[in-house]
Amino acid sequence: MATEKKEVFNAEAGAAMMKELRSAFASGKTKTHQWRVTQLQSLLRLAEDHEKDIIAMMKASCKLALKELNHWMTSEKVKTSITTFPSSAEIVSEPLGVVLVISAWNYPFLLSLDPVIGAIAAGNAVVLKPSEIAATTSSLLAKYLGEYLDSSAIKVIEGAVPETSVLLEQKWDKIFYTGNGKVGRVVLAAAAKHLTPVVLELGGKSPVIVDSNINLQVATRRIIAGKWGGNNGQACVSPDYIITTKDYAPKLVDALKTELKNFYGDDQLNSKDLSRIVSSNHFARLTKLLDDDKVSGKIVHGGQRDESNLKIAPTILLDVPEDSLIMTEEIFGPLLPILTVDRVEDSYKIISSRSKPLAAYLFTNNKKLKEEFVRNVSAGGLVTNDTTLHVILAVHTLPFGGVGESGMGAYHGKFSFDAFSHKKAVLHRSFAGDAPARYPPYTPGKLRFLKALLNGSILGVICALFGWSKA
């Protein structure tokens, strides 16, 4: 007898799930310090029990949240001015309610759990929808979170487009989406129906500007680590393409070839230290970029592929046309085009004519160039003289998020807690010190008093009170 088909996650199931989650949230339990601590500690235990499967960064996020939770949950006292005197004021963080986290396939654990940790720390009930493309991780997440966490308030819903559509029809208090711009627009439009605020962590073409007069060996290693060392180019902050001067390009290409050999040996296509392409769809997409007439003759390194194993060798292309396919969309793979310019300053025009990326990188020893770069290049985040490190190391003190086409909102560390919180303003007023000038019937004297009060002018207030005019 065939085993029973897993229950279909349709509209009824979606509505029933929301009812359960709203009821869990309404009980107030997720707001308690105790509940948040218990869930975070369980996640930590999950990571420790299954260390092989869970990335260490997720543990660091849990530990940080546990350490800082009291501080984050405490309301922030703020100063008040003469305008509201006498009063006291504070900003109170409260959970938004029931939130949805949709994650991506390239760092499936991290991109699922990092936002979930923030949502829990902020006291919300959470639904996680992992990517179906990373199917094994998706089932592991469903299994583990179900075992370790409070499943009345934290759920994993697996599936693809139909299940995601059911989820997007529900009314959420926040949606956190990691993925591409096309689906990002769908998520935002769905959120609009319920006035749901969103965080969108999208992508873009993260450029690397390479100046001359640098420590070329270190720079090259860092570029390689950021590109091929990071999931073989399949990361939202991967260096997408390089811009360098015509004069420097040959040196750079040689250095890249040398270090690639040091890292991955002679047979780079089959190196065990490189991730494969995630799916045949993406494999086909990437090979199409290579086979484009405009660029097929520009390959200066690599280009080999193995369709049965979904492998593409680290590939460098030199002087590709700016309107080629490989320069139009986010590559998200092991192909590295190099554009050349006459002067390194010409790079800015190229970058600013394109959508704002998630990250932008510059390798230089020229202070002026560095400052121009920081001032003029708009991206989610910038790194000078390295690639992707800001994601890995500066985990909790820098906001991680995009701008323009690369997204909206940010997270990591306290920014995750804030992303899933509502910052409620609270003003405590006293009854003493009531200014009659506020109330009708209105008179010119009252106008004078108000002018002084709103301008923060104590002298003016005194004058107005005594009926003197400040000539």
């Binding site: 008040t80 109170v92 708009s378 910038l382 701008v403 609270v426 109330y439 019937p441 009060l453």
Partner: protein, 496 residues
């Protein structure tokens, strides 16, 4: 269409200005903010006149709620601009040595501000202050329902500010629709068209923004409750009553997103409350409020009829205990109080936005918390109480944009408190530095040196490097050193 062509040309001009980098300069931002101060000072008379014409607002009310708060906000922005524009250092773990990290705010680019008719200057220019302070180029779309104000605003901005960077585009729904089709780097929407119900208009704006992945701030409305604990048996009773009246009839005749919508009070105190309210209505607005000049008018015939219809329901009409008279020619509605209209009537399900004040009675004032919780989240919850435990419960058990104790409206003037909604009342916030942030992108910047490198960052991979990573992520520096020296072995075989 001509309007469209002009619109595109106008936006192109703004984008061109932005790309010159001029609006990023602190000097430019200061000049615009100072220009705004001069505008508010020199055009004060015109502004008073326009508000009187569109809304029947008394100049004192106009100054208190719009001009005065704007002057305060511009000065606050000028005083804090340097601090806001400066980058903030971010701490890094030692593992990142030697690096420096900072968060640098930058403008978003071309932003659209759509404002509402009830505080036409305030709701246009408060967000505008933030947009300019943050270095953006701006299109301002004032509400056509306050046409005199829209016109004064357009002329004044044209005269006092940089026309190549700031534009006011006047018009109605069709103009708004065309604007929403453009690609903006941010849309800031204050919406109070209760006909379509502000929440629904908010959805239209957000849906249009979705096509371009444009981030939005939505300042919407809701039914702001005022919970009145039995304070009018104390020496403060006058203050409580005055503040309630100021927060309802005294603020644009109740047409305010943070105006009191309805009151929650204990049954046993309600008649006292009603008596006191009547006494003070007379003191504030005279025997004949219409002649008092101290109460605003309803903005349009449509809204007037909408409000009149709220009282059509016979059970609602029967609950009126004060007022209830209408003057359609003058768009005037008398301050009206009702006690316990049916909760399913429109007056209790829709945002009232007018001078009708229902009082809903409860056995116990603590029941107000459940009452509020079971309804959509409002922009502000007001509570008049001296009971500290009750106040703490109100804060922790309800959710709203803001909670104000023992007063009304005044939170609008607090520069250090974020002003914005949650849930149906909107998202995003502004005022003070929050205005600056609403129109900024906080860019993360990490600067590394070529000097040090962790060799274990690079392939080929082995267990040794995995162990080093384990220690590094735990910021277990001793572990890193021991492993590197071969004194600590890797825990697991990564080839399994």
């Amino acid at each position: 269409m001509e309007v469209e062509g002009d619109l595109e040309a106008g936006l192109d001009e703004l984008r061109a200005t932005y790309s010159t980098g001029k609006t990023k300069e602190a000097a430019w931002r200061r000049s615009q903010l100072r220009g705004l101060l001069t505008l508010l000072e020199e055009k004060e008379g015109d502004i008073f006149k326009a508000l009187k014409q569109d809304l029947g607002k008394h100049p004192v009310e106009a100054y208190r709620d719009e001009i005065g708060t704007l002057v305060k906000s511009v000065n606050y922005a000028l005083g804090n601009l340097k601090k806001w524009m400066a980058s903030k250092k971010a701490e890094l773990p030692i593992a990142a040595f030697p690096s420096t990290a900072e968060i640098l705010p930058e403008p978003l680019g071309l932003v659209l501000i759509i404002s509402s008719w009830n505080f036409p200057f305030g709701l246009s220019l408060e967000p505008f202050i933030g947009a300019i302070a943050a270095g953006n180029v701006v299109v301002l779309k004032p509400s056509e329902l306050a046409p005199a104000c829209s016109s004064v605003l357009a002329k004044a901005v044209h005269a006092y500010l940089d026309n190549k960077a700031v534009k006011v585009i006047e018009g109605g729904i069709s103009v708004s629709e065309k604007l929403l089709q453009q690609k903006w780097d941010k849309i800031f929407f204050t919406g109070l068209d209760v006909f379509i119900c502000s929440a629904k208009v908010g959805r239209v704006v957000m849906t249009a923004a979705a096509k371009h992945l444009t981030p939005v701030t939505l300042e919407l409305g809701g039914k702001c409750p005022a919970v009145v604990d039995s304070l009018f048996n104390t020496r403060y009773k006058q203050v409580v009553i005055k503040r309630i009246l100021a927060g309802k009839f005294g603020t644009c005749a109740g047409q305010a997103c943070i105006g009191i919508d309805y009151i929650l009070a204990e049954t046993k105190y309600t008649s006292t409350l009603v008596e006191q309210l009547k006494v003070w209505i007379k003191k504030m607005f005279g025997e004949n409020p219409k002649e008092s000049n101290s109460i605003a008018r309803i903005v349009s015939k449509q809204h007037f009829l909408r409000l009149k219809n709220l009282l059509d329901d016979p059970m609602v009409k029967a609950s009126i205990v004060h007022g209830g008279s209408f003057d359609e020619d003058n768009l005037f509605i008398e301050p009206t109080i009702l006690v316990d209209p049916p909760l399913e009537a429109e007056i209790m399900t829709e945002e009232i936005f007018g001078p009708l004040l229902p009082i809903i009675t409860l056995e116990n004032i603590e029941d107000s918390i459940q009452f509020i919780k079971s309804r959509p989240k409002a922009l502000t919850i007001y509570a008049f109480s001296n009971n500290e435990r009750f106040k703490r419960r109100m804060i922790s058990e309800t959710s709203s944009g803001c909670v104000t104790f023992n007063d009304t409206i005044i939170q609008y003037a607090a520069d250090t408190l974020p002003f914005g909604g949650v849930g149906e009342s909107g998202f995003g916030r502004y005022h003070g530095k929050f205005s600056f942030e609403a129109f900024s992108h906080e860019k993360a910047v990490l600067r590394r040196s070529f000097l040090t490198d962790f060799w274990f960052r690079y392939p080929p991979w082995n267990d040794h490097k995995l162990q080093l990573f384990r220690s590094a992520y735990k910021f277990d520096y001793l572990g890193v050193v021991l492993t590197a020296l071969g004194l600590k072995n890797s825990k697991q075989d990564s080839s399994k």
